[in-house]
């Protein structure tokens, strides 16, 4: 059942991040919408799903990390750099910039960061799947019984606020 912990958060992340990417492009050239659509669609909750998936892969398949790291080294660093640049631009666009007129360069950079992140992540996922399919890696089953109760408790607990967050956005 170890892959469950990696795949489920990743499956939740993909549509949420795809939507973020879509609205990042849609907002280019439009007046600054503080507290508007993009902010409400994320609040940075989206990325916690990715962190969860990454975390579980690294620690559940710890014997695969060295091999996978060598194959994805540059790509993952590029992903990391794009992630920080996106965070910098996010803070500038939604918390610093006071002029409501759009800044097309910043908007484009912000949107392109999403594409770089998506591309590098896709490459990483494909590489990892390849390794896992061909290698003989064994998950750390020993602590799985201590992770299940947390997941069972957490999922219903976070579903309610996530539902309300996204409902707020659609209004």
């Amino acid at each position: 059942m170890a892959p469950f912990f990696i795949v489920i958060p990743l499956l939740a992340y993909i549509p949420m991040f795809a939507y973020e990417t879509y609205i990042a492009f849609r907002r280019i050239g439009k007046p600054l919408d503080k507290g508007g659509e993009y902010l409400h669609a994320t609040w940075e909750v989206t990325h916690t799903f990715l962190i969860l998936s990454l975390n579980y892969f690294v620690w559940l398949y710890s014997d695969a990390v060295v091999d996978v790291a060598q194959a994805t080294f540059g790509v993952l660093l590029l992903f990391g750099a794009a992630f920080i640049v996106r965070a910098i631009l996010y803070t500038i666009l939604f918390y610093i910039k006071s002029n409501p007129k759009s800044n097309v360069l910043l908007d484009w950079l912000f949107a392109v960061c999403h594409i770089v992140m998506a591309t590098t992540l896709l490459y990483t996922v494909i590489t990892v799947v390849g390794f896992m399919a061909n290698g003989n890696y064994q998950p750390n089953h020993i602590f799985l019984p201590l992770l299940w109760p947390g997941l069972i408790l957490l999922l219903p607990l976070i579903c309610v606020p996530i539902y309300f967050l996204y409902r707020t956005k659609s209004k």
């Binding site: 609040w43 916690t48 962190i51 990454l54 975390n55 610093i96 947390g150 957490l154 607990l157």
Partner: protein, 447 residues
């Protein structure tokens, strides 16, 4: 040591150094906001609630930076320290798995809490903040469990370079973990409370609040300073017992921190000295018997010396300088809030009580948060540098934990630059949150 390992260590230290700032505020702010919102609800004061609301927006800004820097640390761990992950995976994986849950709880409820100001009111809204505080505490708890295991892993059964265990929970929940978690989390709360206290000192100096605003600000400042005094006492007490246990469980690190050359009873406590290359101590003021008393409450307590350990196992010798700098800063951040709280005593003459909000007192409160953050950083540096040359104490050397991914030297330098920009941008956003909105006005829709 290979150059790439040094680069990897520098990069990891840099990333952790930045992340700790965002993380400690992320851990502490939910508690501070709950304290302020509770004060506002109890006193039915919309002004105090507005203060809590503005601070909650500051937390969101910090989460943006925290999510990015935290993800980078995960990636850097995987890319550069894969052999540590492989070695300790069966035990550390549990801690990091829990951290994922706790962080998700914190992030989701923080977004919910911030976006429901004015929509969900009164104690119901306050309750939405409780999972944020639990999640942020849980994140710190879980991560520190993993680190505590690296500091003091106990007796391990290692097969083919991987730890074997049938009880990962038992391995994580050690006495070292108890001291490290409680001491560090209390330190995060203290640092955050002092940061917010500094913000209110600045607010008072800049906006000179009058009437109801002045009353609200002073109530908040008193509550924060009383909380700071509480955490000063807790952190100091825990720190003392942690040091005593350190002498027993990690004598190598203890000897390096406390400048103890050789194993002896009646060991002196040395203030201001430093290590020489040959493992002897130069300079400093020696207080006879004091180190033995500190380590075991008795002058006859035997304290192990650094020279009893093989030279290749000595930690980084500057840890004692870091530790003494930390103690000096701790003295400052202890004294000022104590004076501030003390001046609130009703028994004091009015002349003295009026000093509470004097310009000098407020200026004294301004830098405390920053100093407390430096104390936290120094504390972690002492813990990490003091554990060297091992990454898992006694079992896995840092050089062995490095998975030699090529190109880290060429690529890695981009991250410190990006972290500096992220730090500046985040600090600017926090500054503007208070500057642009000006004095706080009562919000009618919050009660």
């Amino acid at each position: 040591m290979p150059v790439d390992t040094d680069v990897a260590r520098a990069l990891m230290a840099d990333s952790l150094g930045f992340h700790i700032i965002f993380a400690l505020l992320g851990v502490g702010l939910p508690l501070v906001i709950l304290l302020i919102e509770q004060l506002g609800l109890r006193r039915k004061d919309p002004l105090i609630l507005e203060h809590a609301k503005r601070l909650s927006y500051a937390t969101v800004i910090l989460v943006v930076a925290g999510v990015a820097s935290g993800t980078i640390i995960s990636i850097q761990m995987s890319l550069m320290w894969g052999k540590l992950i492989e070695f300790g995976g069966p035990i550390m994986g549990l801690a990091f798995g829990w951290e994922g849950y706790a962080f998700m709880l914190e992030a989701v409820f923080l977004a919910f809490y911030v976006s429901t100001w004015g929509k969900v009111k009164g104690w119901k809204h306050w309750l939405l903040g409780v999972p944020v505080a639990i999640g942020s505490f849980g994140s710190a708890f879980a991560i520190t469990l993993g680190n505590a295991w690296m500091q003091n892993p106990g007796v391990l059964n290692v097969v083919d370079g991987v730890v074997q265990t049938d009880n990962p929970l038992g391995a994580l929940l050690s006495k070292t973990a108890f001291f490290m978690v409680s001491h560090s989390v209390a330190g995060y709360y203290l640092a955050t409370v002092l940061c917010v206290l500094g913000i209110y000192a600045f607010y008072t100096l800049k906006f000179k609040p009058k009437g109801k605003d002045q009353r609200a600000v002073r109530q908040i400042m008193f509550r924060l300073s009383a909380t700071a005094v509480f955490f000063v006492a807790v952190t100091a007490l825990l720190g003392h017992f942690q040091s005593q246990y350190l002498a027993e469980s990690q004598p190598r690190k203890f000897a390096a921190i406390e400048l103890n050359e050789e194993t002896r009873t009646n060991a002196p406590y040395i203030i201001g000295g430093h290590w020489k290359e040959d493992g002897t101590v130069e300079g400093g003021i020696r207080i006879p018997n004091m180190l033995s008393i500190l380590a075991g409450n008795n002058p006859s307590t035997e304290v192990k010396g650094l020279q009893d350990f093989p030279r290749q196992d000595w930690p980084m010798m500057f840890v004692n300088v870091l530790f003494e700098s930390k103690l000096l800063l701790v003295a400052i951040i202890t004294l000022v809030p104590l004076i501030f709280v003390g001046l609130h005593q009703n028994k004091l003459p009015k002349r003295l009580r009026n000093w509470r909000y004097s310009k000098l007192m407020l200026i004294g409160l301004l830098p405390l948060g920053l100093l407390a953050i430096v104390v936290v950083e120094l504390g972690w540096m002492v813990a990490e540098f003091g554990r060297q040359p091992f990454v898992v104490n006694g079992y896995l050397r840092t050089t062995e934990a490095f998975s030699s991914s090529s190109g880290i030297g060429n690529w890695g330098y981009i991250f410190p630059v990006l972290f500096i920009i992220l730090f500046i941008v985040t600090a600017t956003a926090l500054w503007l949150l208070f500057k642009r909105k000006g004095p706080i006005l009562p919000a009618k829709d919050l009660l």
